[in-house]
Amino acid sequence: MGLIQRIIEAKGIPTIGITLQKEVTRRVKPPRALSLRYPFGYPLGEASHVKQQRTILLDALNALQTITEPGTILEPGYIWRRHRFD
């Protein structure tokens, strides 16, 4: 996914991507990433968990405005199925 992200960014559009594989992302080097230690298949969290999905989406959108260093990987540190999104 980072490869596609890099190609879009190179075209002139700012991008932010979620990664569930920080090790891969560190090597592929997309411009901005939000890293979660969540299982594959759950980048926005659990099904029907609106607050969790919303928080992660907002984190990503905020990162578009706050990241100034190319290659930054932000880690909000949510613990899978244990973090309370209230």
């Binding site: 596609i4 879009i8 075209k11 230690r37 969290g45 959108l61």
Partner: protein, 172 residues
């Protein structure tokens, strides 16, 4: 032999889901196309005024569209485009390399369309770009060149034409 490969794949999908460190370990020993310079496009206007586009590699598409090719072990480098105002009930996922049981119940797990619409309605974002783009993230071998040289640049160009001010990408 294909059956055996499918069984092996199904086991790996579950293993990577339950023990993510296995995937990290796999990643350390796997060759990637590594980035050198990092492309950078500054945000031109605040998010609340921006038209946001979404791109996913989770294999999402309209039920009426041709599914991604699951027969080729190197994957499928093509993409599907569908309107961002599509009814989520008309979407489906074709991707056998991750567990999409949760995303099948709620597409927002991989592509948060409903959440993005809520943020638009609340004025948190300026708008949603007219089209969403979807790849099937398992792409290897010769298909990587097709992705890098053809299909990903095509999507980038389409996003420019769509007037997207920023793009949010989700993996599987």
């Amino acid at each position: 032999m294909r059956k055996l490969g499918d069984v092996k794949n199904a086991i790996l999908v579950q293993a990577f889901k339950h023990w993510p460190w296995l995937a990290e370990r796999w990643a350390r020993h796997h060759q990637f196309i590594e980035g050198k310079d990092i492309p950078w496009a500054p945000l031109r206007k605040p998010v609340r005024e921006s038209s946001i586009a979404m791109v996913t590699t989770a294999g999402v598409h309209l039920k009426s569209q041709t599914p991604f090719n699951m027969e080729d072990p190197d994957g499928d480098a093509t993409f599907r485009a569908f309107p961002s105002n599509a009814n989520t009930a008309d979407l489906t996922i074709t991707h056998k390399y991750y567990d999409h049981s949760a995303a099948d119940r709620d597409i927002n797990v991989v592509l948060p369309i409903d959440r993005l619409r809520e943020l638009r309605d609340e004025g948190v974002i300026g708008g949603i770009a007219p089209t969403l783009y979807s790849f099937m993230g398992h792409i290897d071998g010769p298909h990587l060149n097709i992705l890098m040289d053809e299909t990903a640049p095509q999507v980038a160009e389409l996003l420019v034409q769509d007037g997207a001010d920023a793009v949010f990408l989700t993996p599987a």
